[in-house]
Symmetry: C2
Subunit: 207 residues, 2 copies
Amino acid sequence: MRKVGRPKAQDSAFDRSLALKKSALDLLSRDTAGKVTIKDIGREANVTTAMIYYYFEDKDDLLRSAIEYAIDNSFEHFDKLSQDIEHPAALIHEWLRTHEELVEPIRKMMKLNLDYKMGKDRTDRTDQAIQRFYDSERTILLDCVKRGIRLGIFTEVDPESIWVIVSTFLDGAMVRSGIVDGFDVRKAIVVFEALLWDRLGYNSKSF
Amino acid sequence: MRKVGRPKAQDSAFDRSLALKKSALDLLSRDTAGKVTIKDIGREANVTTAMIYYYFEDKDDLLRSAIEYAIDNSFEHFDKLSQDIEHPAALIHEWLRTHEELVEPIRKMMKLNLDYKMGKDRTDRTDQAIQRFYDSERTILLDCVKRGIRLGIFTEVDPESIWVIVSTFLDGAMVRSGIVDGFDVRKAIVVFEALLWDRLGYNSKSF
DNA sequence: GTCTATAAAAGGATAGAC
DNA sequence: GTCTATCCTTTTATAGAC
């Protein structure tokens, strides 16, 4: 364990707080909180234990911050998607494809959410971050279906039902891929998409 | 902490090993492994720490046994369902209803599976228990759809696709109910069922 | 801001009596 | 089979120098 002379203040380009959140996220998704020690996290992020307490109140604070970080990441990703794509069917298609592409990070986020929600160390701040994420997911999908109906490209369906089915199915695909060896996320999403277009009365030849 | 005189050998009616597995299961589903201590489990099951090591090799052994216990439970439940119900549509309907009814235990099992699979302390025995469960789920649903088609009550669909969609959706409903406050499992399953009967060309008026 | 060293607590596991 | 007491290791968290 060789130590380099004197420590140098970190410039903001390499934020140690961020590095810690990333490392925590990674370790937590591979193992369960409580088995992951602050030393593990520190080692992974190349930060000493004492520094963790400089940046965060305690272990729990770091863990919650890591979850929030994961949520914010996913949030931005999906928010961008909804801003970039106009066409309702195209948006839904990309929505599905994105889940397929980002299984790993999304599954990590979900596992952390589940651990957090079923645990007992909760805070309003983190609860709200999770709520905000799912609310925005709902708003985006709901709007999308409504617009599709208004534009006449989708059958007159209940948007709320479609939203529930789509987002619940996707959650299922994310976790199942983490539980069942050999589960084919891509295939699952493909067959689901076919069912969805069928229900929406949309001709998906273009995809 | 009052102690009753001399210990009395437990008769098989109240198996301590079983009590420990149940308590472990309960605590693990509420919190993450590693945060749950053997002392916690012992306290919950009214068994001393030392006794845990009499019944199990070590903490990990107890934890894995608890998971297997949870899986076996669910397995029996679904297996019974498939043996009791002949009619394909009725079986699927009951399948959905059972998930609705047993959200809690099923969600616990899923969380444990996820923790276990994403962690690194794995054993063949436990891996196989999980695999067996999902395999049997697949077999049952697949057979069910095939029979429905053969009987002419379902449209000619690809059974494999239906199985993937149904079981993935249900997994999603189970976890989401643990993550999103106020998620209405019942409603989610109801709207999904409607979609399913639609796809299968089945008139579900009877339910 | 960063590190080393260490205190304080908690947890896993065992010894040994009954 | 069961319990009490305890050992030893790991872990969280802090003190204090630079």
